[in-house]
């Protein structure tokens, strides 16, 4: 990584390791050590704070501290936060089991959703000893740290990193703090893409970070798995040379997939059904084709385009064109190409989801498109910052 030391890799790796360790502890029935893991996380955070000041890399720490304090001053009131993520965390904490919600009580709560973030809230509650409406969701702020560290390491410029943070605050805004997972998922999507670049293109020794980062990504939300697939496709398609050494690197991708598949298998074994797949499963092939045909009508297509392509932050992508004369010599490196390809492929994925949704199209788009397109909006911020970074280093 082109940060001047191993600071970002080390700490991003350690924080991701705590999240995965916490997940494994709950999954294997060792939930009694969950408070110990959370205490370890807090102690490590203090160590990270000290090292941030010592090595003068304070920005990521200060941003997280700021978000943490804000999160502790805010109550969870939004629907997804209360009815899905925090309710799962509360059930896991009270029932002392990662599988608490798989009895499918409160069916509206999307009981099949992955639980890596609720598990950290549950561990926090176990450490404190009770549940309330404020502190459990503050543990989500820790999930923002590894992506921030990866951005910090890649940008390697305090001003550009601050600009990136400002952009994140504008784009993701309160979704960073209100207990939703979409903001964290978008941050993980982009940061995993960056780590994948270092792992697959530059052959750097970041395999463990890539695996841990990907395990968290696929376990944040259902979309996480598809985002992971899109990242791998973007990386592969921008450098499709398969050698034996390369193949070994691609095989590592199986590890996060195993984690994802294991959760899917357990959900399936409990008979809990996802509401989108559930809706599709009731259709036979002919009615499914009819359904898809109806979605290819101009009205429906226009509605999908309007809700997934008309975001003001996409305009940021056009920003470099204004300075075309100045950046004409700046190289479009592989990460920019991969980011652009990710943008196209992930949009195609979203388009497919909205074409297939068994729900009322307008209702589904209105309720979710602003959040599901967050990775795209974030990439629209990321690409101009990368071009600016390349321009500055080109200028010398």
């Amino acid at each position: 990584m082109n940060v001047n030391n191993s600071f970002t890799i080390k700490h991003a790796l350690a924080f991701n390791a705590f999240f995965v360790l916490n997940y494994i502890a709950w999954f294997t029935g060792l939930q009694s050590i969950a408070p110990v893991i959370f205490t370890g996380l807090l102690i490590y955070f203090c160590y990270f704070a000290v090292e941030s000041f010592k090595l003068k890399h304070t920005l990521p720490f200060l941003v997280i501290l700021y978000l943490g304090l804000l999160s502790l001053g805010t109550v969870a009131t939004s629907w997804d936060a209360r009815s899905i993520w925090l309710f799962h965390a509360k059930r896991i904490f009270i029932d002392n089991s990662i599988f608490a919600q798989l009895d499918d009580y409160a069916i509206w709560s999307h009981n099949d959703y992955p639980v890596i973030a609720p598990l950290l809230s549950a561990s926090f509650a176990k450490l404190i000893g009770f549940w309330n409406e404020i502190f459990p969701k503050a543990s989500n702020v820790f999930f923002i740290l590894p992506p921030l560290l990866i951005f910090y390491g890649h940008i390697n410029n305090n001003r550009l990193f601050t600009l990136m943070v400002i952009g994140i605050f504008y784009i993701i805004a309160k979704l960073l703090l209100n207990g939703y997972m979409d903001g964290i998922l978008a941050l993980y999507a982009l940061s995993t893409l960056i780590i994948a670049k270092y792992y697959f293109y530059d052959k750097q020794n970041v395999g463990l970070l890539f695996i841990l980062q990907s395990i968290v990504l696929v376990n944040i939300k259902i979309e996480g798995f598809f985002i992971f697939a899109v990242i791998i496709a973007s990386i592969f398609l921008t450098k499709p040379h398969i050698t034996y050494a390369n193949l070994k690197r691609y095989i590592i991708c199986l590890v996060p997939i195993i984690f994802w598949a294991l959760w899917k298998f357990i959900v399936h074994a409990h008979g809990v059904v996802n509401y989108i797949y559930g809706g599709l499963a009731t259709n036979n092939l002919i009615s499914l084709l009819d359904h898809v045909k109806s979605r290819f009508q101009p009205d429906s297509l226009l509605m999908i385009f309007e809700h997934t392509l008309l975001f003001k932050y996409y305009l940021l992508l056009a920003l470099p064109l204004l300075f075309y004369r100045k950046i004409v010599n700046v190289q479009l490196d592989q990460i920019i190409k991969a980011s652009l390809l990710f943008f196209a492929l992930y949009w195609l994925f979203l388009f497919t989801v909205y074409v297939l949704t068994p729900h009322d199209l307008y209702w589904h788009l209105k309720g979710s498109a602003t959040r599901t397109t967050l990775p795209l909006q974030l990439i629209s911020l990321w690409i101009p910052i990368l071009i600016l970074k390349n321009y500055l280093s080109h200028k010398g």
Binding site: Y66, L69, L70, L72, G73, T74, V75, A76, T77, R82, S83, L86, F87, K90, R91, I94, D95, Y105, A106, W108, I128, F130, N132, E133, I134, F135, A138, R159, T162, L163, V165, I166, G167, F169, Y170, A173, K174, L176, L177, N178
Partner: protein, 138 residues
Amino acid sequence: MVIITSKLNVMLKKNLVVNFSLVLLFILSSLKFYQSYDYVFLQSFQLDGGNEIAMYPEVIEIHHMIKNFQLKDYKLDGDLLNGLPMQRIVEFTYPIQLNSSSPFLFLSKTIENNDTVLLPSGCKLVEEGLRVSLYECK
């Protein structure tokens, strides 16, 4: 020497403008957080911290009655059984669960939603709150 000093001055001014702009942008971008800030930091580690802000008053009332009468389960009808109120009650009162065959019934008794007309025969009033009433039905 004069040229170097003036160049240095220009550079310092440029740096100052850039840094000031970044700080200003940072403050402006943070405003979005304060729109939904609840000023509950001091309650964040209290047992009932945030309840009043997070919950409808009727949900808190139901929660208190469940605790006072040590109910094992409960059922709802009328307005309380509608989407959002029902979801909030189920989430907040967990681990006590909603059970349609429970003898304990909560009904809304506000002016806007007075559901006491839905009361089945054979139910006796256990407690009357400000917004909800608890009945025990055979």
